[in-house]
């Protein structure tokens, strides 16, 4: 096993990987930008080094600096997490050149799968069905006319895309130009590459993906599927495993397709093969993510396999200790991504200082968090602050636990998407499993409201006691009125009696 591992990432995934290393008894090196000096991953790691100013292009994406830290500290492996350099083949190659093990697949596999149109071709060659789509086109007008030929709706996608960024759905011709511009601009700032192409947009598809584990000796298995159909702005926000849409037969077929896909890419490490499944249960290869994924915990919970630790073992050259037959589906797991966003205000990011943090616990609850009380959520990075997962013997139990856990979760000082998840967990269609990637938009989740006038009264009672106490202590009320905006400013939405 490795002598020392550098985690080339931040936030919850860096903490997750440090935990894995701690359990494997491998010392860890964290890197951080100047904005992240007070981050949890810096506190948890055995060593920590600053690699530059807040913008990730000047810190977390600067390969030279990261390799310099690795060499200085005697690191013999680097785990890239997800995002940042995780799917950068150049980084994987440079690690190898420096005799440092890149904890992930080969540079060649990343390159092949990272280029979405190349990946699609590879899959077609091994007989895995793909969604109809174009090649990449540089000229916006040509791309727009190609899109028109396919008939709307279509999806503009960045070839280097991931995490929902650099994607735009287009339903009418008049929207196409602006959508291409926006997708290119987002792709450029997220991945440094503005190449896009167009795919046919399936109506109400489910997003179902298979987790792959493959060693460097040619053994490939899958760890069953995850359903990630609950998306907002093409970004997954709630995931579960297994999926209600699959029966054993379809699961086996898609699992085999996923394994075939990994084999075609000569893949090793953990990876994910994503499919869209339409109403008639046809499935189409969407893309392969050549990294550990945000939503890996739900698979860990139903299989008992620690995917992060397996990645380290595979990178160290070990053979898989489990075969496909050893993978047993046990119960049901649910994940809610908690973002520092205001769900009542169009999900606007809500950076700021976390004043109070009380995490849920008890039976069947796992919280993978990257924050703590006193932490200031910076505005330079993705606003996801934690992943709340629950396990249950059945889907119903996992949802009941999630409702319970969401109710216990207190994060004060910033707005979070907890109220959004609570609404989804009470949505009839969600409970029945009638979901697809357009679910959030269709259901207008945030416009539903519980009729909790009683609780509003309790809130007023508590606030009145609070104000009375404050005025007695003579603080805060006598001063001049602050003008202009403030943290509680409401914008573009009706105020709520009840939420």
């Amino acid at each position: 096993m490795f002598k020392k591992v550098l985690i080339a990432n931040r936030g919850e995934i860096a903490v997750r990987l440090i935990r894995a290393c701690r359990e494997l008894e491998i010392p860890t090196v964290a890197i951080y930008s100047e904005a992240d000096r007070n981050s949890l991953h810096v506190r948890c790691a055995d060593e920590a080094y600053c690699v530059g100013p807040p913008p990730s292009a000047q810190s977390y994406l600067v390969i030279d600096k990261i390799l310099e830290v690795a060499e200085k500290t005697g690191t013999d492996a680097i785990h890239p997490g997800y995002g940042f350099l995780a799917e950068n083949p150049e980084f994987a190659k440079l690690c190898k050149d420096h005799n440092i093990t890149f904890v992930g697949p080969s540079a060649e596999a990343i390159e092949m799968m990272g280029h979405k149109t190349v990946a699609r071709k590879t899959m077609q060659n091994v007989g895995v069905p793909v969604v109809p789509g174009t090649e990449t086109v540089d000229d916006d007008d040509v791309l727009a006319s190609r899109a028109k030929e396919m008939s709307f709706p279509v999806m503009i996608k960045a070839v280097a895309g991931g995490g929902g960024k650099g994607m735009r759905i287009v339903r009418e011709e008049k929207e196409i130009k602006e959508a291409i511009r926006a997708a290119r601009s987002e792709a450029k700032s997220s991945f440094g590459d503005d190449t896009v192409y167009v795919e046919k947009y399936l109506e109400e598809p489910r997003h179902i993906e298979f987790q792959i584990l493959a060693d460097r000796h040619g053994n490939v298995i899958h760890l069953l599927e995850r359903e990630c159909s609950i998306q907002r702005r093409h970004q997954k926000v709630i995931e579960e495993a297994p999926s209600m849409a699959l029966d054993d037969d379809l699961r086996e077929k898609m699992g085999k397709a996923a394994v075939d896909a990994a084999k075609a890419a000569r893949y090793w490490s953990a990876g994910t093969v994503e499919f869209l499944v339409d109403r008639e249960k046809n499935y189409y290869f969407l893309e392969m993510n050549t990294r550990l994924q945000v939503e890996h915990p739900v698979t860990e919970m139903i299989t008992g396999i620690d995917i992060a630790k397996e990645m380290f073992k595979i990178a160290a050259g070990e053979k898989l200790s489990i075969s496909q037959e050893d993978v047993k589906m046990n119960g049901w797991a649910m994940e809610c991504r908690i973002y520092a966003e205001d769900p009542f205000n169009n999900f606007l990011p809500s950076p700021g200082k976390i004043l109070t943090l009380r995490e849920p616990s008890g039976p069947g609850v796992r919280d993978d968090s990257g924050v703590f009380a006193g932490y200031e959520v910076p505005l330079h990075y993705d606003p996801m602050i934690s992943k709340l997962c629950t396990w249950g013997g059945t889907r119903t139990e996992s949802i009941q636990r999630m409702k319970r856990a969401l109710g216990e979760y207190v994060i004060k000082g910033i707005k979070t998407t907890i109220p959004f998840h609570q609404r989804v967990m009470n949505n009839e269609k969600f409970l029945a499993g009638n979901i697809h990637t357009g679910f959030i938009e269709d259901e207008c989740i945030m416009e539903t409201s519980d009729d909790s006038e009683d609780l509003m009264n309790v809130a007023l009672v508590a606030a009145a006691l609070h104000l009375q106490r404050k005025s007695r202590e003579g603080v805060g009320t006598a001063g001049p009125e602050k003008t202009g905006t403030d943290a509680w400013k409401m914008m573009g939405r009706r105020s709520r009696w009840v939420t």
């Binding site: 960024k165 926006a182 987002e186 700032s189 997220s190 702005r233 009542f344 169009n346 606007l348 990011p349 809500s350 950076p351 004043l355 109070t356 505005l379 330079h380 990075y381 969401l406 109710g407 216990e408 004060k412 000082g413 109220p419 609570q422 909790s452 609780l455 509003m456 009264n457 309790v458 809130a459 007023l460 009672v461 508590a462 606030a463 009145a464 006691l465 609070h466 104000l467 009375q468 106490r469 404050k470 005025s471 009320t477 009125e481 602050k482 202009g484 905006t485 403030d486 943290a487 509680w488 400013k489 409401m490 914008m491 573009g492 939405r493 009706r494 105020s495 709520r496 009840v498 939420t499």
Partner: protein, 165 residues
């Protein structure tokens, strides 16, 4: 003490009498007898008629954010004296609406011009913050009275973007 809560433009009188752990609190015309235990300044356990509530409070000036059982409530709350001052100063919010940004970002696109008529929900301006583009929509139907920024501007938290009247 007498207070005024302002919720969705509606005013609700709230009064507190009683001392120590037992308080009588009137909200509108409903009265509650409340057993309150303060753990910290902003975390209270309330027992009202046997019903138990754990309440987290966040206040900034007159604005209150209250969390109970995972539900969030927001309103303004001030004492009667200040309520009088407010009404005489005409600080109602029925008229002009200021659209501000709550975080630093960059103005990607301004979609309207001063003098334009807009409907509630129309897009006004696109701001990029935390790597996402966000469209600020009009809170009401009216006329764009002022645009405070231009495309490409970097803006600070609290910057005035647009006024719709």
């Amino acid at each position: 003490m007498g207070y005024i809560a302002k919720i969705s433009g509606e005013q609700v009188p709230v009064s507190v009498t009683g001392e120590d752990e037992y308080h009588r609190i009137k909200v509108g015309d409903k009265e509650f007898v409340v057993d309150a235990f303060w753990t910290q300044n902003d975390l209270i356990s309330l027992i009202i008629d046997g019903r138990s509530f754990q309440v987290d409070i966040h206040s900034a000036n007159d604005n209150y954010g209250v969390m109970i059982e995972g539900e969030h409530f927001e309103f303004e709350l001030y004492d009667e004296r200040k309520a009088l001052l407010k009404s005489s100063a005409g600080l109602g919010t029925e008229g002009a609406q200021e659209i501000t940004t709550s975080m630093p970002g960059k103005i990607v696109k301004v979609l309207v011009s001063e003098g334009d008529e807009v409907s509630e929900g129309d897009g006004l301006i696109i701001v990029e913050a935390m790597k996402m583009e966000n469209e600020m929509k009009s809170p009401k139907t009216g006329v764009v009275k002022k645009i405070g920024v231009g495309e490409g501007d970097a803006v600070e938290a609290g910057s005035l973007l647009v006024i719709v009247e």
